[in-house]
């Protein structure tokens, strides 16, 4: 990538309309305990998140359990409406589109998920799995679909004979290739990659990451790459967002974030993800404790209960995401 387009958190610059953007999106679930009414508790799974992904670039998204990654991917894929805020695709609110617009959205946005076993319908052959999006969303003839199928299979490095086989006849890595072929079948503008290599063997991960990168360059696809492996995210991404308990804590171009992390949580994550070097790695845990329950958010800054540098004011005031350097946003009182 020669240049990474400047991020556009609040207002996209003219001529640089992002492909997909979240504008101050919040998603609240009501959790029922025991099924008796009146006991519902509010779970803020995603809280005031604004993000944008320009075409043909990758936004990396990291965070630990309960950080809202999964909810965010559901919001991006238009599987759930935000409680407040807007999700926009190509400048249009995805929840106020007509039928045509919705169809267009399905053509433009697809996904690859973590579990290569659960992602493919065990009763369908690869042919049907890969061409289903074509069948549902395009008027392609059977012959054209077959041709497209062959080119997709070759794109992801599978032999033509794979088309007639069932998923159980493939290994995990090969299944993930099938899932990728399906995801790119309609030449989408955006693919949400939700932990696409976490379930794979270490020796297979690099194959899949390389494949994804090649396809991006070839077809000019934008990715939202959700992962917990910071090294893989660095390798894949242009922009990078760090989430903690539903909120963005840091959002910056990759070089800036890895070169000069500002938020104490980002720093901790990076410390925990050092490359393996015997003798040079500390066993001092960068953070104490564990992520608190999202049902019981701490007052003020939600990270303060584990923050090594927290002060009194962190318990009172919730920090806002602000731009501390061009394109580099952070949400912490103690960063200048």
């Amino acid at each position: 990538m020669t240049t990474s387009p400047a991020s556009t958190v609040t207002a996209p610059k003219a001529g640089d309309t992002p492909l997909i953007e979240l504008l101050n999106v919040t998603k609240v679930y009501t959790v029922r305990a025991g099924g008796f009414r009146g006991q519902g508790r509010q779970l803020r799974a995603v809280d005031g998140v604004s993000l944008s992904v320009p075409a043909a670039t990758t936004l990396g998204l990291v965070g630990e359990s309960g950080c809202g990654k999964t909810t965010l991917s559901r919001l991006l894929l238009r599987q759930e409406p935000p409680t407040t805020g807007e999700v926009r695709y190509a400048g249009k609110n995805v929840w106020s589109m007509g039928r045509g617009g919705q169809k267009d959205f399905h053509r433009q946005v697809s996904a690859v998920f973590q579990d290569p076993y659960s992602s493919l319908n065990p009763r369908h052959r690869v042919r049907e799995i890969v061409t289903e999006p074509l069948m549902v969303n395009s008027g392609m003839s059977r012959h054209d679909r077959e041709e497209k199928l062959q080119s997709l299979l070759s794109d992801v490095g599978l032999p033509p004979a794979a088309a007639g086989l069932y998923p159980h006849e493939f290994s995990g890595g090969q299944r993930q290739r099938i899932a990728i072929a399906r995801a790119i079948a309609l030449n989408p503008g955006l693919v949400v990659l939700d932990e696409p290599v976490s379930a794979l063997d270490v020796s297979i991960r690099a194959q899949i990451l390389n494949l994804l990168k090649e396809l991006q360059e070839r077809h000019q696809i934008a990715y939202v790459f959700i992962a917990h492996d910071l090294a893989a995210v660095e390798h894949m991404s242009d922009q990078m967002a760090v989430m903690y308990l539903g909120a963005l804590v840091e959002y910056a171009p990759v070089e800036g974030l890895y070169g000069n992390p500002l938020h104490p949580y980002t720093k901790a994550l990076l410390l925990a993800s050092q490359p393996p070097q015997p003798g040079k790695m500390s066993l001092e845990a960068p953070l104490s404790g564990e992520v608190p329950s999202p049902l019981n958010l701490p007052s003020g800054c939600r990270f303060r209960t584990r923050c090594p540098i927290a002060e009194a004011r962190c318990a009172e005031l919730s920090p806002q995401l602000r731009e501390v350097r061009p394109g580099h946003y952070v949400s912490c009182h103690l960063v200048n």
């Binding site: 305990a33 025991g34 099924g35 008796f36 006991q39």
Partner: protein, 305 residues
């Protein structure tokens, strides 16, 4: 915990309302309910009079309201055949059925669970094969056939046991076995598979890795976890015991509600049929509720939720 209890109570109430609807429509299924309630030789005027007195000309919701009011006040109408309140006739016989059901439940639970556990811990061995055979025979041979075979063998050929009637512990043996037969097989099967599932969990592995003796692994760690599906099946089986009484009591001339039902049906004693079906069902639903509350005792995840 309270949330769980309250939601189960609401569910139970809804189920009872559901049952009342089913029972209410039972009487109206044949189109003209009076046909069931009146001897065929009655005149058209008799019919009209009856219709009016039963409120059968009112719209359905009103009729249902009257029906529910009757239920709440314990008034199910008089039995045609016995000429006394249907509820009294029913309550007279119900304990006999319950006694037999209790005996069957003990046989089924003890037999099913012990054979099932043995089968699971000796998976693939002789005992296990025996459990499979028991489970299969239980599901394939109807209880009335077992009943007849028992009579043929122990009463007619060997003359060890009385053929029928209810008098003393000896008379319980054959009906209880015949009635428990199917349930014992089902419980054997469920116990075995539930135990096998639990035995594959990580916590059983860790218990073994801790050096817990195999007996404690099975009875302390595995069995209690396997118990929840076994109990839920058992609570369905209780329904089966009462339900199956219709057949068993007919074979062994047992003076319970099963026999009463058949008599009521053949004599078109509809108030009595309605009473039997509604009260028995409600009783069983409440029993089920009790079993569900028992889960909370077994499983802290429910108790502490």
């Amino acid at each position: 915990m309270t949330g769980y209890i309250v939601s189960r109570l609401i569910q139970t109430l809804v189920t009872i309302v559901g049952i009342s609807v089913v029972v209410f429509f039972l009487a109206r299924l044949s189109g003209d309910a009076t046909a069931l309630l009146i001897p065929p030789e009655a005149t058209a005027e008799d019919r009209e009079a009856l219709k009016e007195s039963l409120g059968l000309d009112d719209p359905l919701p009103v009729q249902y309201g009257i029906f529910v009011k009757g239920i709440i006040t314990g008034d199910f109408g008089d039995s045609f055949r016995f000429g006394e309140p249907a509820l009294d006739v029913f309550l007279d016989r119900f304990p006999n059925t319950l006694k037999l059901a209790a005996a069957s439940a003990v046989v089924a639970l003890l037999g099913g669970v012990s054979v099932g556990v043995l089968g699971a811990i000796r998976a693939g061995g002789f005992v296990d094969r025996l459990t499979t055979v028991i489970a299969l025979l239980g599901q394939a041979i109807p209880s009335f056939l077992i009943g007849i075979m028992l009579i043929l063998f122990f009463a007619v050929e060997l003359r060890w046991l009385p053929t029928s009637g209810m008098a003393g512990p000896k008379t319980f043996i054959m009906p209880a076995i015949a009635s428990a037969w199917y349930s014992m097989a089902a419980l054997t099967r469920m116990t075995r598979s539930s135990m096998l599932d639990v035995m594959e969990t990580d916590y059983i592995r860790l218990a073994r890795l801790k050096g817990v003796p195999e007996r404690a692994v099975i009875w302390k760690h595995a069995f209690r976890n396997a118990l929840v599906p076994i109990l839920s099946l058992f609570s369905l089986q209780i329904i089966f015991f009462v339900s199956g009484s219709v057949v068993i009591e007919q074979i062994f001339a047992w003076p319970g509600i099963g026999q009463l039902t058949i008599q009521a049906i053949f004599s078109r004693d509809y108030p009595l049929v309605q009473t039997i079906v509604f009260v028995t069902s409600t009783f069983l639903v409440l029993l089920n509720l009790g079993v569900d509350l028992l889960y909370a005792v077994i499983d802290p995840r429910i108790r502490l939720a």
